[in-house]
């Protein structure tokens, strides 16, 4: 499998680490135990297009949001995580 890193270009699978479903959002601090439990443990087992977190540890150390078909391994989109890349300017 090959992933086109937005920062480094097309690289092979061995440079990346898979984490899992990119959809769950970390609950707010006051969301309560059930919401955090869902966030930590409950995952959809998707047969088809899935948005996933991948880490380019063998390259630029960016976290990427990869849209992948779990049936064919076809990758249709790769986006950097919201906080990936250079330092914020004027933040």
């Amino acid at each position: 499998m090959r992933i086109v890193c937005p920062f480094c270009g097309e690289r092979e699978l061995g440079e990346f680490t898979y984490l899992g479903d990119a959809k769950p959002v970390r609950p707010a601090a006051d969301a309560g135990e059930d919401a955090v439990y869902d966030y930590v443990y409950l995952r959809d087992n998707i047969a088809g297009m899935m948005s996933e977190n991948w880490y380019h540890g063998g390259g630029c150390r960016a976290w990427l949001k990869v849209t992948r078909n779990t049936l064919t391994h076809e990758i249709s989109a790769v986006e950097p995580a919201a906080g990936a890349g250079a330092a914020k300017v004027g933040a």
Binding site: M1, E33, I75, G83
Partner: protein
Amino acid sequence: MAGVQTNRLDSGGLIDRSAPLNFRFDGKSFSGFQGDTLASALVANGVKLVGRSFKYHRPRGILTAGSEEPNALVELRTGARREPNTKATTAELYEGLEAASQNRWPSLRHDVMSVNQLFAPIFVAGFYYKTFMWPAKFWEAIYEPAIRRAAGLGRAAGVADPDHYDKAWAHCDVLIAGSGPAGLAAALAAGRSGARVILCEEDFTLGGRLLSDGGMIDGLPAAEWLVRTQAELAAMPDVRIMTRTTLFGVYDGGTYGALERVNDHLPSAPEHQVRQRLWRVVAKRCVVAAGALERPIVFAGNDTPGVMMASAMRTYVGRYAAVPAKRVALFTNNEDGWRTVETTLAAGLQIAAVIDARPDVSPAHRSLASKNGFTVLHGSVSGVDGGKDGVRKIAVSLTGGARAEVEADGLAVSGGWNPAVGLTSYHRGRPKWRDDIAAFVPDGAPPGMVAAGAANGDFGLGACLSQGFAAGAAAAHDTGHGGEAGTAPVADDEAFALTPLWHVAGKGKAFVDYQHDVTASDIELAQREGFESVEHLKRYTTLGMATDQGKTSNVAGLAIMAAVSGRSIPETGTTIYRPPYVPVAIGAFAGHHRDETFHATRLTPSHHWAAEQGAVFVDTGLWKRAQWYPRAGEKDWLESVTREVTAVRGGVGFCDVSTLGKIDVHGPDAGAFLDRVYINTFSNLAVGKARYGLMLREDGIVYDDGTTSRLAEDHYFLTTTTAKAGLVMQHLEFCRQVLFPELDVQLTSVSDQWAQFSIAGPKTRDLLKEIVDPAEDLSNEGFPFMAAREVALRGGIRARLFRISFSGEMAFEISVPARYGEAMARNLMLAGKQFGVTPYGTEALGVMRVEKGHIAGPELSGTTTAADLGLGKMMSTKKDFIGRVMAGREALVAPDRQVVVGIRPTDRARRLRSGAHIIPKGQTPGPGNDQGYVTSVCFSPTSDQWIGLALVEHGRERIGEIVHAHDPIRGEDYDVELCNPVFYDPDGGRQRG
């Protein structure tokens, strides 16, 4: 020089008669020529018997001339290089080659186990499942070893492989599998268009079937066209031809696996060269021109040595000038089989008869028969009279019911051709059935791949050339190469009129899968017993599960299943195709990643100095760390470690701790960020101070710990454990980039940039004064416990100095740029000489941390909470942090959790060992009363006895209780007292002093 090659033609073929090669088979000397395979050389020497079958030990001969061979498997080479199950049909002959037949004892000709044939009626499909069921305990001890001795293939060398293997990457626009007419035409078109091309050919010569069958291309004999084409391709700088290279698999994203047999054609690889190279090829397009495999017809006695595929016979006669039989009968159901007649006659050999299963034979063939004095029989071969010396007589069932006999010493068989659909089907593709050729052809392919020529079911030479050329041109065009491809090579198409015939009824064993001894009746039995699905059929009979993966047997097997189950062949379907196409040695997948180069080795900055000191090193992850520094006269490690600990506690010592993960955290939100990843607060840490921090996983379990210092308002320096250095970096980047992108913070891994030393002991300050610039204030007031700041060293180097202590002594850690690490170690030795400075290793480090009750890897086990480790009070209640909510779950705050406690044996002389279970005193050990286990132990020179840490239920409330330590692995049982885990200096006065 061995004797004459009895079955070698005087002229013709692609062998070099000026280069004779001696070889041995089963200890007997023979000779062949450069350009031979082991199989062709055996044929040229009249050897018909080459092996014994897997189950029945039946005599077997050479069936094919390629990588689909099921029978002619040998042990090639000797000693450590002995390789079992090597196909004689693809093994190139070299001077001094030694090969031995397999699965026979005491010899190939007189094999004791051939009595299995007498018991053949019981060795049916599912035999093992049905027979060796009771008693169950007999299986491992008696049945399985006996079966493995009797049924089997070759013997592995049994010692380490002395050869080297390599792994490499290649990139191209167009990858081509196969160098027959279709593959070469594809290479011409793609190469002329300007594409970067890699062409892989598993044979050692380009040409595919052209080498055996000839033909006319562009008005030239095939051999001349081959020369011209190879010259043109060689002149193209972007076309890379790789012979002896099998494309064995296709993976995701246009990645392909190929095995290059770099030096398998030599006795051993030349010095500094690899034997095989595993290629990962990244290609934008792939043209599969892998050809087709001729398939046998299943009839009684079809495994008799001397029965051979018709195309293989043409190969041996035409390409190798080797004569498998002098009087040949041909059994065919298609027009292509007749080409063997032409080749055989052209070589001056006799045709005994042609048995053609089709209703009609063309007038041209009839006149060929009458001109050459052989008969054409309409019917099928129903039996073979012969044995280990080959075929003698062939029984024929004529159409209409009459019987005939043909005397011949060889039988060529053609049941049609199966396109090589492996590569196109490896992404779970299912090939589709084509009635006109009675074969499966690719139905689509993985992205970027297309099949052409015979691999696509189009067998004619003209069709192969035009399809290959078109596929090559299209692949080049698709990858942005629009150069002038010129015109496709032109040739006529041969006729291929086929009437399907799979199985001829008759008396005697009729083999479908030669290598696994699966017969037609096994398939019929499987159907009767309900194993009708092809996937069940495969596993019940082991059809297609041998090293050849059923290349010659799968389609015939499912055709027979279709017939007995009353379904069509496409309804019956195929099993799933999986790579590799040919067996690939594990050594090739491992490449250089074996032994000491199994993984990368990381050396600490002071490694070479430590090696000079005679340090004993220990592997911790990828690192080599100094474990202790033995001195002359010390009788064991314990004596050295005890000396090191005593020297530190009484004077001063130092230890390289550079393996800790080190991360610079910069930015206005650095403090806020650390507050979210640690359970305790860092935003309120004063500049110039250090603080111990603990991280949880989001599920509430402890993840990692370390000391983090604030070097400036917007700059923290964070350390991790050695084991988690990479993972914590990944975790923190996830927090920063994905969870909290709103924070303005940046992370930089500086693990490799800083050499870090722990300097510990009451004389630490004295030693440091010799190293640090005198202007720096190192007094207890000027640099108190947990202070951290940058200092200048004598000579001007800037260092980071941290007043932190893992040992419990007055201690500092000092970081210098990694390039000064070794000089630092040498300077500490030099400057510390007057104070008796002692370098110490990880073992003494560990002893002192257990004495101080500090947690480390064994306690950070992925099962413990902060409270389990006695650090529950660190959890801030004023902020959110990773793991906060889940850490409050009922089970994680249960009162009976196992918590860290100290232990010491009631018998002061007893040695402790990690892993022992804690059981209440007086009870019989069992799962029901297991209350925890010992995590860390050491001999404490300070306590003068063994001490340890343990995780024990209610441990903190049971201080002083005597419990039982049960160690079933070492067979030890003894009592220990639960105690405070801080054995040394419990009020911490020494580290603050």
